[in-house]
Structure formats: C-alpha cells, structure tokens
C-alpha cells in the first residue's frame, strides 16, 4: 500500500462508560480508491466514520491525517481539518429550504469569510466550480430549485456535489445508497466512484449491500461487534467471511 492518508490506532468509542461500541480499531486507509465497510446494523460502522470528522467524540485512540491527530483537535483547527473531509449521508441531510446551489456552496463555508456566505457573494471560482459539479452530477438545470423539491436520487447527487465542493482530501460516505431504490443506488455509486476517481479522492463508504461493495470497492473491511474481522480485496471475501460478519448462513 502507498503512504496511508488516514491512520486509525486503537480507536475506542463508548457512548455509555464500560460499553464500548468500537473495541480498539486499527485501520490505515490508502490514498486511492474506495474502501467499503460492511457489517450488520449497530456494529459501529457509522460511529467509526463519524469519529473521523468528529461528529462523534472518540473515547480513546488516535486518528492521524496529514500529520495531525484528528482526535485531539479543537475549535478552528478542527474546522480546518473538517473542511478537507467531505461527507455524504444516508438521508442526504441537505438543508431543505435552501436552493440546490446554496447547498452545494455549503461545501465552501469552511473556506469563505462569513460575510460572503451571508450575502451570497461567493468568489467567481467557487461559483464556476459549483456549476461544473452540478453538471458533473447530472443536475445542470436545478441550481435555483429548492432542495426539498428534488427526488431522493437527485438529493444524493447534490450531497455528493456538496462534499466534493469542499475540495476534500478524503470522502466519508455513511450508507449513501440505503435510502435509494436499487437502480438509483447503482447510479449514485457509479457517480461517486467516477468523480472521486477523477479527483483522486479516497473514499470510505459504509454500505449494507455486499454486491455493491464488491463491485465498486478496491478493499473491503468486514466489521462485527465493534471489531474488524475481515480486511482484503473484494474477490477474497467468501461465504465463510460473510457468515462470520453477519452471523448465520441460511441467508447467503
């Protein structure tokens, strides 16, 4: 593996003292491609992702990125780190009453001064890039529509554009396709894989659908009970691994 962009060491998260959700995760993410994390619901996949951009506070351990320990950052330093980490959410989490363009430009809030954001006076370069991203995600005509007027698939495309607008060094995707129908799910995954591939942004994606994970990821992490139990390329994962990750085997 090339020099890792993200290196997690001994990460523990306890929502209640003495009941860890993550039992000391060690994980290094390479500088390229999609890493898919699979595992049953409630196994800590989402918590792991949210510890990286500190939407959840880690209890113990270190998360090294660009020579900084993300787990220790505070205030302005934390915000500066967050703006280099894009995030795509299961339920899109667009600000529904803002326009599509405003949602995409939300990705620049970590960069532009407050008055520019307030008066919607974004630098020309940001606006050009936002339009280019809207074209790239297939929503060229939707800039001025309100986000709540879009379908689920369209919203997730805006979510991807917003994350890429941050010029991220890393993209986190938390169940990005779980609220979508099967066809739209594939389209959204294809879009995300293509755009992040072009931009050279590594992706960590939590995903329920093992087939989708195998199809798009270069590496699959299997988690169960807050521990990593599989780590390897997609063609190395077999039924015995799936049985260990999800438990039982009748469903396979």
């Amino acid at each position: 593996m090339t020099q890792p962009i993200l290196e997690i060491r001994g990460l523990v998260k306890e929502y209640q003292p003495g009941k860890p959700v993550l039992h000391g995760i060690d994980l290094a993410i390479g500088a390229q491609g999609i890493t898919a994390i699979i595992g049953p619901s409630g196994t800590g996949k989402s918590t792991l992702l949210r510890c990286v951009n500190r939407l959840v506070e880690p209890t113990k351990g270190s998360i090294m990125m660009g020579g900084q320990d993300l787990a220790r950052l505070r205030g302005g330093a934390l915000r500066a780190a967050r703006r280099r980490i894009g995030m795509v959410f299961q339920e899109y989490n667009l600000v529904e009453r803002l326009s599509v363009m405003e949602n995409v430009l939300t990705g620049r809030l970590g960069y532009v001064p407050l008055w520019r954001a307030w008066l919607r006076r974004y630098p020309r370069a940001d606006l050009d890039r936002a339009f280019a991203l809207l074209d790239a995600v297939g929503l060229p005509e939707h800039a001025t529509r309100r986000a709540d007027a879009l379908s689920g698939g369209q919203r997730q495309r805006v979510g991807i554009a917003r994350a890429l607008m941050q010029s991220p060094a890393l993209l986190l995707a938390d169940e990005p396709t779980s609220s979508l129908d099967p066809r739209t799910a594939v389209e959204v995954m294809e879009l995300m894989a293509r755009l992040t591939g072009e931009a050279g942004v590594p992706v960590i994606v939590n995903i329920h659908n093992v087939e989708l994970a195998k199809r798009f990821a270069v590496r699959i992490i299997g988690m169960t009970g807050g521990r990593i139990v599989f780590d390897g390329p997609p063609d190395a994962i077999g039924n015995d691994h799936l049985s260990e990750i999800y438990g039982g085997e009748d469903w396979i």
Partner: protein
C-alpha cells in the same frame, strides 16, 4: 351485557362540581335578575349617549393613534431584535444547559406579569409618556417571541445542521446555513403576530399613563364624553382591521 365504553366517573363528578360551583358563585356575587335588568337599562342609556360618534376633535384622535402605532412598531422591532439571541440561547438543542436554563427563566419572568402591570411599573420608574409604553411592550414581546423562537429552533432537523457542521463551517455559518433557513418563515409569522397584538396592546397602555390613544380614551371616559369615546373606539377598530389586512397580505406574499 358487555360494555363497549367504560364510564368515566371522575369526569362526570368533575363536571357536576364545576356546574354547582358556578351556580353558587353567581349567588355570592349578587348577580340577580333584578340587578341584570337595571344594568341593561343603564347600558341602553350609555349606548344612546355614544351616538352619534363625535369626530370633531379628530386631530387629538389622530395624534393618539399615531403615537400608539409608533409604540407598537418600535416595541415589536426591539422585542424581535432582543428575542433573536435570547431564543437561540434558550434553545436546548443548540445551547448548553448552563446557558439555556437561566435564559428560559428570564423569558418566563418577562411573560409572567401582565403588560399593563409592567407598564405601571415603567411609568413609576421612568415617568409618564410613550417611553414607558415602549419599554413595557418590548418586555411583553420579548417574553412571547423569544419563547416561540426557542421552540421553533428546538424543532429543527439536526441532521441538516450536522451536515453543515461537517463541512467545516464555523458556529455563525452553521447558524446562517443550517439553522436560519429552517426557522425563518416561522420567525416572520411570529413577528407579524406580535406586531398585530402590540397594536392592540398599545391602545391600552395609555390608560396607565404610558402614552398613546389609551390616555385620550381614558380622559374622554372621565369627562363623560361618550360620543368622543365612540369615535375613538371606531378609530381603533379601523386601525386593527387595516393592520390585519396588511399582515395577511405579507403572510400570503411569503408563502
């Protein structure tokens, strides 16, 4: 036989007790048929003296109305400006408990006293005139609007806020892009409603000397100028109607 509906004895007993108390209280207050008859007779004479309304002192009337309107507008604007930070500070989903609890307490104190009582306090403290009325209605607006603002903020979707926060936005940018869009239309609705009720309330604070048409009304009552009273009341009703129509138009335009 099987019962389809369980009898609610506590509710039946409660209603019976309430009815019995109402009858007993009526007799305690000396409200009899005879008293009612004299009262209605007096009422008839009073109404007769109000007609026709006397608009000859229209300058005095207009001056009072304009002052009432100014009191209402200024106190609404001040109340809203103060309510924005207070509502945010009182919202339990965005503010820490050590901040939200005392702020909620302060807002509750603003709400607890009737605005006429607050107006009397301000007249005593800072003297007669419109300033006391503005101060009293600002406090009243604050108690009402800040509470509604806080409740609106507590009902927002935190997922949208979380996404803005994840982009690296600072606290002020999170408010502008994550919180404000979700509450703006409700905030405007509450503010219009408060302007409406301040217009009504500003006609009353004058009675205790806090400026506006209320003072003129009270003086006319004391001099038994019932035809002038009628003119004032008609003018107030017209003002409220106009305000209602304007507020309705603004609401419709915002939809």
């Amino acid at each position: 036989m099987r019962r389809a509906f369980a009898p609610n004895w506590p509710a039946r007993i409660g209603l019976f007790v309430l009815a019995a108390y109402a009858v007993w209280a009526t007799s305690q207050l000396g409200i009899t048929g005879e008293r009612l008859a004299t009262g209605l007779g007096e009422g008839g004479r009073f109404l007769a003296r109000m007609w026709p309304p006397d608009f000859s002192r229209w300058e005095l009337l207009l001056e009072g109305l304009v002052e009432s309107m100014q009191i209402a507008v200024i106190s609404t604007v001040l109340g809203i400006i103060l309510s924005l930070p207070l509502g945010l500070m009182a919202a339990r989903n965005l503010s820490p408990a050590w901040l939200s609890a005392p702020t909620r307490g302060f807002i509750a104190v603003c709400r607890s006293l009737h605005y006429v009582i607050v107006a009397i306090l301000f007249v005593k403290a800072i003297g007669f005139g419109a300033l006391a009325g503005v101060a009293a209605l600002t406090v009243a607006s604050l108690g009402f609007v800040a509470k509604l603002f806080a409740e609106a903020i507590e009902e927002i979707s935190m997922k949208q806020v979380e996404a803005v926060r994840a982009s690296g936005a600072g606290p002020a940018a999170v408010l502008l892009y994550g919180v404000l869009p979700q509450v703006a239309s409700r905030f405007i609705g509450f503010s219009l409603y408060q302007l409406d009720s301040n217009l009504r309330n500003s006609t009353l604070v004058g009675i205790v000397g806090a400026g506006g048409i209320g003072g003129t009304l009270f003086a006319a009552f004391k001099r038994f100028d019932y035809d002038f009273v009628a003119a004032i009341l008609l003018a107030i009703i017209a003002l409220i109607f106009v305000a209602e129509i304007v507020a309705g138009r603004i609401r419709a335009a915002l939809q």
